[in-house]
Assembly symmetry: C2
Homo-oligomer: 501 residues x 2
């Protein structure tokens, strides 16, 4: 549900838009797949929150809060998070290469260390200019760094030719689904709750979302039985299920999958010949246990059980938007293809080439993310300090929010394991559910709207991600600084529960 | 036609890819729309040229040339063009905001003027960080600057709410066609020759490309009769023609449309209710006459003939990739909607929100492009000097190339008017056409491949853009520095013609 931006009317007439005669394009005759797509993260609530922000900025004193808290989207640098110095120093030299020709840049008070300068020069030697189109798969030197990073992370080789840089993982997901989905009978298994990019993109492609529910009471783990049941159901309905999406660590759930969970998914993928789309953009946002990549687990299984997993097709995604990098606005990411038919890979290349190349500065950020300063290098210490401080801050805030939720009536929340979100369930009084229905809204949407109106805190209703019938949730990031906004939620919740008791 | 990237095979087996068992995805069962899409600009020739470049860089002496000239794509900064200093200085401050806190940055030898600092601060006040997601339509402060630019260019108002920033114009075109095309009966009029983004995107959407031929002997002007005939033919075939694409100045033709030409298109659009997609990314690359925007012409006509043009829907696109900016790698651009139904605009907003936002640094470049230093400001003089030098260089090279083509046997070329390309027609001897057919290639493709193999100059065959039956062309940019590469073409051509005489 999107509020309508107001539109200007033709200059000469000054009539309102609705007075105008019929046009070729109307909401009821545009691409029905676009019309069907839903994307709640930037929907009605986000638009309303932005309106409140603008009103406050203009000095409006009529609102019952003095700031808007955008907890609806994982956008760290909109909130408290400062960019990592090393990254931005290198990027500034890439933008203004004249500085590289001035020896005094090193001795200046501007903090450019030799490793910053060296890195900028290394990147420029390959890309020539951040203003030039790169190779459509991404600049070769950057793909080499990514391959090295994957090798070190997993202990198994990676090939730059199998890597595709993209404008954030979202763009990579779109590419993959565009190639995989061959018509209305094609289906893709998507976890519920999910990040709505998946359902929205499947809508755009007029393909089938085949939902499988995660197990809330097992910390939102992956339920193999649920996947098998969904498969059986989908096949019975004539859907050819081609792929399975796994988000690990989870969005919106924050869950972190064990190696055993990952094996279960790969078992099904091998047996049912499903392409695995592993959305691993939160791989460094893990509080509990250790991140295991799908690629690593796959390679292990290929060694342990020769034959069985040889034909598994895996595409795994990473991004500069999350982790301790948090550079969403730069739109950088990559995906790696494992076990894909070379002819299919060639079609993926052609598809991405139509958009020419991902943003080159975003590509450079990918390089910096996967190849940060090493011990002994001049920028190492500050990098490490900044990185750890962001990581600690996220963990502390996650726990504080979790503790607050534990004390709220009718709210249950799984212990935070990773990612940037909590996804508590809320049990609302029947009167609140009725009041929502009277407005033609889901009860969770009703709750989140009231929360925004009363406190300025913007979260996303669970219905935007999918949830089991008769359950209600909302997703909140734990990125916003301070605890004041958590207190606002606690106070609002108590008042809301009292009102509808 | 795309060469296949080599792929790695699973780690444990070391078999060649073709030995592996069947996979879920094969070239013959992926999305048939992706398979059908063609994009020659980054196809076989470009891939081969890149291979030659790498071989030369590694010291390979076996090739009959010592450099590869990428004349296949308008990528100025890959070649001679230096970025404009003011733009890059502002971007470097946006990336490294720590510099803004150091007063000595102004007095330093680094050349940061006060207006550079002011601009960076102005942008940051709105976007907070280039690492944060912006509004999905683009940062408000940037859309305000674009609106002002359009008002000054056209003499008619523009509204920031009707503006959508995008990751280069390509992404904007994709958005528009995604919303416009509602199924296999939807058709879009596309000029032939065209920039293949249009046919490729229509293939992806399984919509109909309705070609209309441009008039080569009238400097590639728009032929109203050709458009009307195409419309009649398309309707007879059951196609609902919904939109018309005009590329002005033309790609690949370099043509620049007169106000009268533009009126003809708007007349048809008004009569037939066609959405006009005006691709105006080369609006500052005009050598002959003056650029007139579709928006300006539309507003004039709405004043001159009240009523007739009121319901025309126009989307016009611009980009930081072309002009004297040439910042392709930054992926910045925008489109303006004129006369669209607000409910359709809301669907466009939802569509773009799924990908969250265009790259924020690219958005900032859009702001700098439309709002460059003004007379009296410290950075004005250098900006003006750099801008004019790029502009003069492009014009000179276009004329030099044109003169060379005029002297080549069997080559005819329209006088350059704008954009970054020449699109000469070539008449090849029958023996050459036979030799091409024996290789299963179009004759122009055959010619361009031989040219690349012999000289290292990479151009794109006319068949990649579309051309009238029994004609042959190629597209070359006039961006590469020097005249040596033009001489290579002249020499190759003479030898080719002699060989197949």
């Amino acid at each position: 549900m999107i509020t309508e931006p107001t539109m200007t009317v033709p200059y000469t007439t000054k009539r309102t838009a609705s007075d105008l005669g019929p046009r070729r394009l109307r909401a009821d005759n545009i691409n029905p797949n676009v019309k069907a797509a839903k994307y709640a993260v930037r929907g009605e609530l986000a638009v309303k929150a932005e309106e409140y922000r603008v009103r406050l900025a203009k000095g409006d004193k009529s609102l019952p809060f003095d700031s808007v808290i955008f907890a609806n989207i994982g956008n760290p640098q909109q909130l408290d998070q400062k960019p990592i110095t090393f990254f931005r120093q290198v990027l500034s030299l890439l933008e203004n290469t004249a500085l590289l020709e001035k020896p005094e840049v090193l001795r200046s008070s501007f903090g450019y260390n030799q490793d910053v300068i060296d890195r900028a020069k290394k990147l420029l030697a390959d890309i020539q200019s951040v203003g030039a189109y790169s190779h459509s798969q991404g600049a070769p030197v950057i793909r080499e760094s990514v391959a090295k990073f994957i090798e070190e992370r997993d202990g198994f080789p990676a090939n730059p030719q199998d890597l595709y840089l993209c404008a954030g993982a979202s763009s990579g997901v779109s590419t993959l689904l565009n190639v995989i989905c061959n018509g209305p009978t094609a289906g893709v298994l998507v976890p519920i709750p999910q990040y709505p990019l998946y359902t929205a993109t499947l809508s755009l492609l007029n393909a089938q979302c085949v939902p499988y529910h995660l197990e809330e009471d097992k910390a939102w783990g992956t339920d193999v039985e649920a996947i098998r049941q969904s498969l059986v159901r989908a096949k019975a309905e004539g859907t050819e299920v081609r792929a399975i999406v796994v988000i690990n660590p989870g969005n919106p759930t924050g869950a972190s999958l064990s190696p055993e969970d990952i094996k279960s998914v790969l078992d099904i993928a091998a047996e049912e010949k499903l392409v695995v789309i592993a959305d691993e953009v939160y791989q460094t946002n893990v509080f509990v246990g250790e991140f295991t990549s799908f690629k690593k687990r796959l390679r292990q299984l290929q060694q342990e059980v020769p034959g069985k997993y040889d034909n598994v097709e895996l595409a795994s995604l990473h991004s500069v938007s999350k982790g301790m990098v948090g550079e969403c606005g730069h739109r950088g990411g990559y995906f790696e293809l494992v076990g894909f038919d070379p002819l299919v890979a060639a079609e993926i290349y052609k598809f991405v080439s139509i958009m020419l190349c991902p943003p080159v500065i975003g590509q450079c950020l990918v390089e910096l993310m996967v190849n940060p300063p090493k011990k002994g290098e001049p920028s190492y210490e500050l990098y490490q300090k900044e990185y750890n401080s962001i990581s600690d801050g996220l963990h502390k805030r996650a726990l504080a929010l979790y503790e607050a939720f534990k004390q709220m009536e009718g709210v249950e929340c799984q212990e935070p394991q990773g990612a940037m979100y909590l996804f508590p369930s809320i049990t609302l009084p029947p009167k609140a559910v009725e009041a929502a229905a009277a407005e033609g809204r889901n009860a969770d949407e009703f709750y989140c709207l009231r929360l925004l109106d009363a406190t300025g805190v913007c979260v996303v209703p669970g219905s935007g991600f999918g949830q089991k019938e008769n359950t209600l949730h909302f997703r909140t990031t734990f990125l916003a600084p301070g605890t004041d906004w958590v207190e606002r939620i606690v106070k609002f919740h108590a008042e809301f529960m009292a009102k509808y008791k």
